[in-house]
């Protein structure tokens, strides 16, 4: 199911021509209307008219979260405030809030892009969609709301919170699709159990989850416990909000709406493109946004580019689910290592949320990485031979996936402190 088949299935060459044409336009526009970009382009002697290929984007400077903060609130808007019909803002949990604006056309585009993602996830005009994202400055609620209305589904704008009421309404209104964070979906499953509500007795069929990183195991748990088909979608307010990328029914990567965005996956250290399939930081350029275009915005989100064609027929490249944040990156022996890579390997092996700690040391001028892993029943053997073979197998697997040698040390259960943040799982003892 497509929402805008003509665009979603463009041939790659037509798509790339369209991207180049739109890229030139947006660069020209921000270079004229936004002092921040104008100054940067001028000092680098960049002339969008001279752009002849998409690779030319790499000459242009990045835009950082800090740039958005420095230009708080309206400094990066590319249209007069009179033409802005909506303002959203990021939560500001990691610093000062950032503000983004939308023109009338932006809202139409945004609605269509979200409608594409809803279609990809199985939603049709016959569905009753319960939007349990917060409505307000956060882009999630309104973004999905407008997209669902555009599609013609029946929208229940219940917003976040009050789980019992969510479930009551889900039962009474016969919601067929649920929009929220993946962790909230699991919370709902828990509360259903407490309330004695059997999820199989509900009308719910689809779940569209986003706004936080999650895993394949979590998807399976949600699918099983709620009896639905869960898909992942991705967005961030600085670029658009929801509607940037979403999974189709293949559930194997998120199609990026490439007619409206150019994505790059870069090594966060060298800022050069990584090989397709390798982990890197997602960098996004908006092609059509009027009120708040961004050029080469560094999302700090880690993903892999999946350029292989998708059986669903969409020609847009896919990205893997978000694997973590580049802010957590470690450089060990000159190689970029992300704690989430180690976490996902352990997750796969253990089948549960792993407890681990990374210790980085420098011995004789050489970096050394040791991974402490708490032993759980699924990875504990009564035979030393098997236990050692198991340790060897994780060591080999991690070494080959990370590209550096790794030592594995098993520790007893519940001996590693429990942290909520991923960065806390790293102890870097190197004195640099």
């Amino acid at each position: 199911m497509y929402w805008q088949k003509e665009q979603e299935c463009l041939t790659r060459s037509n798509l790339e021509n369209l991207q180049l044409e739109r890229l030139k336009k947006v660069l020209k526009r921000v270079g004229t209307n936004v002092p921040f970009y104008r100054n940067k382009f001028n000092s680098l002697h960049l002339n969008p008219d001279k752009l002849t290929s998409l690779e030319g984007i790499r000459d242009y400077p990045f835009t950082l979260k800090q740039d958005l903060r420095d230009n708080y609130p309206y400094g990066l808007f590319a249209v007069p405030l009179r033409d802005v019909v909506r303002v959203h803002s990021s939560s500001g949990t990691t610093g000062m809030a950032t503000v983004v604006g939308y023109s009338k056309n932006d809202i139409v585009t945004w609605s269509n892009l979200v409608a594409r993602i809803l279609c990809g996830a199985g939603v049709t005009p016959d569905d009753v969609i319960q939007i349990a994202f917060g409505y307000g400055l956060f882009t999630g609620g309104f973004g999905l709301h407008y997209g669902a209305e555009r599609l013609g589904a029946s929208v229940i704008p219940i917003s976040a919170g009050n789980t019992k009421r969510q479930i009551q309404i889900m039962q009474d209104f016969k919601s067929t699709a649920l929009v929220c964070t993946p962790s909230y979906a699991l919370k709902m499953a828990d509360v259903m159990m407490d309330m004695g509500v059997n999820p199989n007795g509900l009308s719910l069929r689809y779940g569209l989850f986003g706004a936080e990183p999650w895993s394949e195991a979590m998807r399976q748990e949600i699918n099983e416990r709620l009896g639905i088909r869960a898909t992942d979608n991705y967005g961030l307010s600085e670029v658009l909000g929801p509607g940037i990328a979403g999974e189709c029914f293949e559930c194997n990567g998120l199609h990026v709406n490439e007619d409206h965005f150019i994505i790059e996956v870069l090594d966060p250290d060298t800022l050069e493109p990584v090989k397709p399939g390798d982990v890197g930081e997602l960098v996004i350029t908006t092609l059509t946004k009027e009120a708040f275009p961004v050029i080469r915005y560094r999302t700090r989100d880690l993903t892999r580019l999946l350029p292989e064609p998708c059986p669903c027929g969409r020609t847009f490249h896919r990205i893997s689910r978000i694997l973590g944040r580049s802010d957590d990156m470690l450089i060990i022996k000159g190689v970029n290592v992300f704690p989430t890579q180690i976490e996902s390997i352990l997750f796969e092996i253990e089948g549960t949320e792993p407890h681990y700690r990374l210790i980085v040391e420098r011995e004789n001028n050489e970096d050394k990485l040791t991974v402490l892993v708490e032993v759980v029943e699924s990875i504990f053997f009564d035979e030393m031979k098997k236990q050692r073979a198991f340790i060897n197998s994780i060591r080999k697997r991690m070494s080959s996936e990370l590209g550096i040698g790794v030592d594995i040390q098993l520790v007893e259960e519940r001996t590693l402190e429990r942290f909520s943040g991923k960065a806390d799982r790293v102890i870097d003892k190197r004195k640099l």
Partner: protein, 143 residues
């Protein structure tokens, strides 16, 4: 025919074994036999106890990682060549011993050999055909 054995993961830190035995003692679990396999970093403690489920439950509640495996217990006369005869029988069938340990019962007449074989079913058949006495956990606890 099979005897349930519990295995506990131990880091090489002082006092861990003491802690395990204390937990079992407090909960009225009697240890009939044990062995420790160790490396520089960690060890695997294996136990034959009278109350398997209880032991597993209280150790888990105290934060230990506990596994349960089946082993074979063979009773032999506590005389020269007792173990050698058992191993000869197993060797003829080309079955590997993963690990083993032994204890002598109270009267001192018989020894009990605890085995984990690579091929458990085949080993049982071989031992039975060889006329060896395979005993159950109840029999071990009654010794």
């Amino acid at each position: 025919m099979l005897v349930e054995q519990i295995a506990v993961f131990l880091e090489n830190k002082s006092g861990r074994l003491a802690e395990i035995t204390a937990v079992l003692a407090e909960n009225g679990v009697n240890i009939r036999a044990l062995s420790v396999a160790d490396t520089a970093d960690f060890g695997i403690l294996r136990l034959i106890v009278d109350k398997v489920e209880k032991a597993k439950e209280v150790l888990k509640a105290n934060g230990f990682t506990v596994g349960k495996t089946d082993v074979i217990a063979v009773e032999v006369d506590d005389k020269t060549g007792g173990l050698a005869r058992v191993l000869q029988c197993i060797k003829e069938a080309s079955i590997n011993v993963e690990y083993m340990y032994a204890f002598v019962n109270k009267t001192g007449e018989n020894a009990v050999l605890i085995f984990r074989f690579e091929k458990m079913e085949e080993a049982i058949t071989m031992l039975q055909n060889g006329g060896f006495t395979i005993i159950s956990r109840e029999q071990i606890c009654a010794l």
